[in-house]
Amino acid sequence: MSDKNKGLSKAREIYSTRSQRVRELKAAGKKIIGYPCVYVPLEMLTALGLVPYRTYGDIKEPISEVDRALPSSFCPIMRSCLDCAMKGKDDFLDGMVTIHSCDPQEKTAHVWESYINYPYFHYIDMPITVRPEALEYFKSQLNDFRKTLEAFAGEKLSTDKLQAAIKSHNRQRALVKELYELTKPPPPLISGTEIVQVVKALMSLPVTEGNDLLTEIIDEVKNRTDKPEKKSARLFIWTGTLDDTDVMKVFEGKANVVMDESCGGIRSYRGEVKITADPLEALAKYYLYEITCARSFRQATIGETRKDYDRDLQSRFGYLKGIIKEWEINGAIILLVRYCDPFAFEIPDLRDYLNSLGIPSTYIEYDYTTGALAPMRTRVEAFLETIS
């Protein structure tokens, strides 16, 4: 019998009862700050002793409140997030930090601020290009964020504290990458479903507690005897957010999911923030340049005056080539949450790129509800038959 207070069992427990730990921390005097997107620089919260808590949607929760605030043909994840907030499910939050990572995040942020009263609320604007002037602007945005955060926390954000927080979060990034290394063997030592639980647990805990949990999990997984069963396909899941194990289980019924490109998975952990004398600039660079979300406008050469489609694909998806080879991936699922424009526009280009690597792919769309799972299963099984 596994110990519920350790490793994978603990992650599974936190996944199921997400807010329990932050509620305890709040009772002990800590301030809990929500964030709906991985582009929010958590290091700045951690450095001031604030506890970041990712606000997710819930595919099992029927929508009942949000229709008065957001239209029905709109990002179902943001609708679900705000619906949960409007029902008071995040009533322990002391504040909220939002960011213009995509249009629905930006639009929902302001509506959210209007409908839910938090002691602290801040919205960070974010440019779409990765140009030098955009970086400068984004850094100024983080500086403004620093000012409001300091006023809320009643404490100055020192360079030393910020660098220490960056190191803690970099440690978490390194540990997550180490965890994903354990999906390389056939069969993988950890399943995609377990990884969803682990990442969601990490986004529900202070960074140091998350790091301790990850260390336990890596140790446990390396030595486990109950590893996942080997299946015929090794899949890569490309999506905006995959944050529910029921969705991942659809893919893992007859395949091993060994890698993802999801902000419920590895996306925000791939790189690392540089330790420099100007930590704010380092954070701006990391969040603007390094996170591989479809929201950014990337080019083969900044300001290019000639367009070369192959180079363009390379600049946007080239990092996948090594991953596909190293993880011995033989199929890709392109999972689109309906109405997600940044990811939707990428689909034909991504499929072109995957084709160029000889990787078969299928595109599946869903509406972020459990009702979508049965047809999704049929589609996945049909795809697996074609590649097996």
Partner: protein, 447 residues
């Protein structure tokens, strides 16, 4: 017979016709120039930011968003939508974008770069480059990036800072936005110079910028006159006249003269209490894009006494701002562009309407134009122009006791707007407007 009656229902401005004719003529001349091989750029609506640069450089510009509306209205869009669908673009993407993607696939893959023969209004020739914009929605820069699989035209993505109403008032915030945009624009000028192989004529840019600002100032004043009761100008005239100011279509000196003529006509109507419709019973604000394919619908409502007195924040001129002391034309362009986005922020903050930079203007319009109701038109495939509408409805009721009628539609898919259905809802909505008129009176509002 019906057509004759409809023509009488809305009393269109005489001065609108030459202005609109100028816009149409400019479009046709532009098509001819493009077909003759003059460098052409496909651009997204960019709210006075990239357009003055292109205009000063004598570049022909075509707006695929506008072309999407033309393709929809002429029925040509269907085959382009199907082509985009066949190429794997999800069907719930922006209808304008799918139209462009399908059109470009047809032009570049099937016809080796030739304009499709079935393309309405002369089509869109292969562009030298693409000018996208981050303003308002993600589609407007992702869509041009996605064209890369069909066309070897480079893309310039214009940045568009999007501040929150509260955050905007952090010390130094506005200056940082100006810094970003001016530097960005300077690089854009260098990019355009490289693409067309000639240097910017800075004197011409100065003149273009000043005319753009003045044209929009006069156009703003025209719309201010519409606060009069009865309202002398209907939204139909606004939508017909807006391209010359919004897209800088045509010669700007001509446009200035024509908007001044329009000002004089509207002023005269105000003085003589002439209404835009036979009997103004209800004053309404319209949000956002209208059903381009069913504009005759407004005549039916005009017959019922519905006067659309103010509309479409996204297409209205910025609140005038004095930029005469700003010597750098790029900074003048930047500040004018930013004024479009943040011109309402001070007021929004005071009123504590923080829900969206797109939402507050409607509260202001309803209050100042003394509206009895709001007609909200969410667009299925243009989510960004629709996201704020539930919040707008909530704020209009909470702040002003003004009811809203929401009728869904689309910018391309004509089947999604049912004018008959909408008309069937007119009578109950009139009862709601009457009811809330009484409530407003009881609560001390002055209309």
């Amino acid at each position: 017979m019906v057509e004759e009656k409809e023509k009488k229902a809305i009393n269109r401005l005489k001065s609108m016709h030459p202005l609109r004719a100028k816009v149409n003529e400019t479009y046709l001349k532009s098509v001819e120039a493009m077909q003759a091989g003059k460098p052409t750029v496909w651009a997204m609506l960019n709210w006075y930011y990239g357009d003055p640069i292109l205009k000063a450089m004598d570049i022909e510009v075509v707006y695929p968003e506008n072309y999407g509306a033309i393709a929809a209205a002429t029925g040509a869009a269907q085959q382009y939508l199907e082509r985009a669908d066949a190429d794997g673009f999800p069907s719930h993407l922006c209808g304008y974008s799918l139209n462009t993607l399908g059109y470009t696939a047809r032009m570049m893959k099937d016809l080796n770069g030739q304009i499709p023969p079935e393309a309405p209004f002369g089509g869109m020739p292969k562009p030298l480059f693409l000018l996208s914009s981050a303003a308002i929605c993600d589609a407007r820069y992702k869509w041009f990036q996605a064209l890369g699989r069909y066309i070897d035209a480079p893309v310039w993505a214009l940045e568009a800072p999007t501040p929150g109403v509260k955050e905007f008032f952090i010390e130094g915030y506005y200056d940082k936005m100006v810094d970003l945009e001016v530097k960005h624009l300077r690089d854009f000028v260098a990019f355009v110079e490289g693409m067309v192989g000639k240097k910017m004529d800075w004197g011409k840019l100065e003149k273009t910028t000043d005319l753009m600002i003045e044209v929009n100032r006069v156009w703003y004043e025209v719309n201010e006159l519409r606060k009069a009761k009865p309202c002398p100008m209907h939204s139909r005239d606004f939508w017909s006249a807006m391209p010359a100011a919004l897209f800088l279509a045509g010669d700007l000196e001509d446009s200035l003269r024509l908007y001044q003529d329009m000002y004089n006509e509207v002023r005269d109507r105000v003085d003589r209490h002439i209404s835009a419709i036979p009997e103004e019973k209800y004053r309404l604000v319209f949000a956002e894009l209208p059903p381009w394919h069913s504009l005759g619908f407004f005549n039916k409502l005009a017959e019922r006494g519905w006067n659309f007195v103010v509309e479409s924040f996204g297409y209205r001129p910025p609140i005038p701002i004095d930029l005469s002391k700003v010597s750098d034309p790029l900074e003048r362009i930047t500040r004018f562009n930013l004024q479009f986005y943040v011109g309402y922020y001070e007021d929004a903050r005071k009123q504590n309407v923080l829900g969206s930079s797109l939402a507050y203007p409607y509260v202001k319009y309803a209050r100042e134009w003394k509206c009895d109701g709001a007609f909200l038109h969410p667009l299925i495939s243009c989510r960004s122009a629709s996201t704020h509408l539930p919040y707008v409805a909530d704020m209009l009721m909470e702040e002003l006791k003004v009811p809203s009628l929401t009728v869904e539609g689309d910018i391309v898919d004509l089947r999604l707007f049912n004018p008959e259905d909408a008309l069937a809802r007119a009578e109950p909505f009139e009862e709601a407007m009457e009811h809330y008129r009484k409530i407003r009176k009881e609560e001390g509002f002055d209309w």
